[in-house]
């Protein structure tokens, strides 16, 4: 394993902690066994497919257009995931597509425009995945929380509307809380960088023999871009969801409460 090679035994060994989690789930009757096993199998299958795709994309002479196509696919899948987590919000897929596409274009533009990394397949796909993957968590939380808050606090929202507040004004406290919840994990992990964990890109660069200071600078640039991307997409999704949950004449649409 010394140079990043993992054999079958190493892979099986890495599952020991998953086995511990399974035992805890069984012991505490958490009923998470099925989800745990499914997530392990699914992640493995996805990573294997990803590995083959990356190998194909990285073949010498392959056009980077395929890498960009792959990134576009990731954006569409992420937008679909956001929509499926908050299906009661009309038009959420389109909003998520616009937010994630804009964020990806801007961040990738900065990374490649400023020459942080060369624009080649081995940088486009993983960096695109990093930006979109990190945004996905924030956007799902933002959309879900806006829908839940407006459903749970319907009486309060309607009392605000009855005072002549616009839907934007009436929904502001709930969107603010949703966006805060969506951004808190990213802000906390940004604060803990270097103290609690060393981020993957930096670790990879150091392992590849890059000067640690250079690796730190690259990591800092990526981290700030991720923070900016998560913040921007969460805000756009939060505000966009709010707009979709009211009618143009400032009435709150009927929202189904989700079973917890």
């Amino acid at each position: 394993m010394g140079h990043g090679d993992v054999n079958a035994l190493g892979l099986v060994t890495s599952l020991i902690l998953v086995a511990v989690a399974l035992a805890v789930s069984l012991g505490q009757q958490l009923r998470l066994e099925r989800d745990l096993i499914w997530s392990v199998i699914r992640a493995f299958a996805q990573l294997i497919v990803m590995g083959f795709v990356l190998a194909w994309l990285l073949e010498p002479g392959r056009s980077t257009a395929y890498s960009w196509l792959w990134v576009a696919g990731m954006v569409a899948f992420a937008a679909w995931t956001v929509r499926s987590r908050a299906p009661e919000i009309p038009g959420l897929f389109s909003i998520a597509m616009v937010a994630l596409t804009a964020a990806t274009v801007v961040t990738m533009g900065v990374i490649f425009g400023l020459g942080v990394f060369p624009m080649e397949a081995r940088a486009i796909v993983p960096l695109g995945g990093m930006m979109i993957g990190n945004s996905l968590g924030g956007t799902v939380v933002a959309a879900r929380r806006v829908a839940d808050e407006l459903a749970d606090k319907r009486a309060e929202v309607e009392a605000r509307l009855a005072l002549g507040q616009s839907s934007r004004e009436a929904g502001k406290p709930y969107v603010r809380s949703a966006i805060k919840t969506a951004l808190t994990p990213r802000i906390e992990s940004t604060k803990a960088v270097g103290l609690v964990f060393l981020p993957g890109a930096m670790t990879g660069l150091i392992l590849a023999g890059v000067n640690p200071i250079d690796a730190v600078l690259v990591q800092a640039a990526i981290m700030y871009l991720i923070l900016g991307t998560v913040a921007t997409t969460s805000v756009v999704i939060g505000i966009g969801s709010l707009r979709q949950l009211f009618t143009p004449d400032h009435r709150l649409r009927r929202l189904a409460r989700r079973a917890s």
Binding site: A155, R160, R251
Partner: protein, 233 residues
Amino acid sequence: MGDLFAFDRVTLSFAGVTALDDVSAQLPQGRLSVVAGTSGSGKSSLLRLCNRLEIPSSGTVWFRGTSLSSMDPLLLRRRVGMVFQRPTVFPGTVRENLLAADGDLSEAVLGDMLATAELDREFLDRTGDDLSGGEAQRVCLARALACRPEVLLMDEPTASLHPAASLALEATVKALCRDHGVDVVWVTHDLAQIDRLAEHLLVLSRGRVVYNGAPGTPNAKPALDALTTGEGD
């Protein structure tokens, strides 16, 4: 005297339920109108049409001779205030609640608003957690009054209050109607409350009008009797 609200063949349906079915009725200006009916009769839906928290599936609602659909809903809601069944005090102090209605109110006016709702000025610094049900509902009334509305829609405002607090709130709202010229539409299913308040009576059953006119007439009695038997549920 003209109509305060007029409902012209109004139907309201949502999620496969018809809350109001071809309702035509008028509520007069200058009087305290009571809309009565059992649970599910459509009385709250009728009230929510008056400030456009709902819009009719078909038909027209008129406010002082103007179709509601042609009015700006935000301006309409400042003219037609509403107090809901459950007291909903926003997070923060009572002062912040009143300022949510109008951010430009001075301390003196805030005090006056509380006084009109018969609350002491000291309540301004209290939060919703420090209030009894009756006090919370009075804060909601003061907050609605902070928009200086011409009309107050009261959606079973005493449903969660104890009898003494209910009577006190009724007296406050009657005084608002009598002394300050605020038109009031009060929704209830409580017969004693109808007796105490109604200057005009509209009774609904299963989304239809079963009586609309003066209270205390021989024709009003059978419509009100249905409230005690629960018919229309």
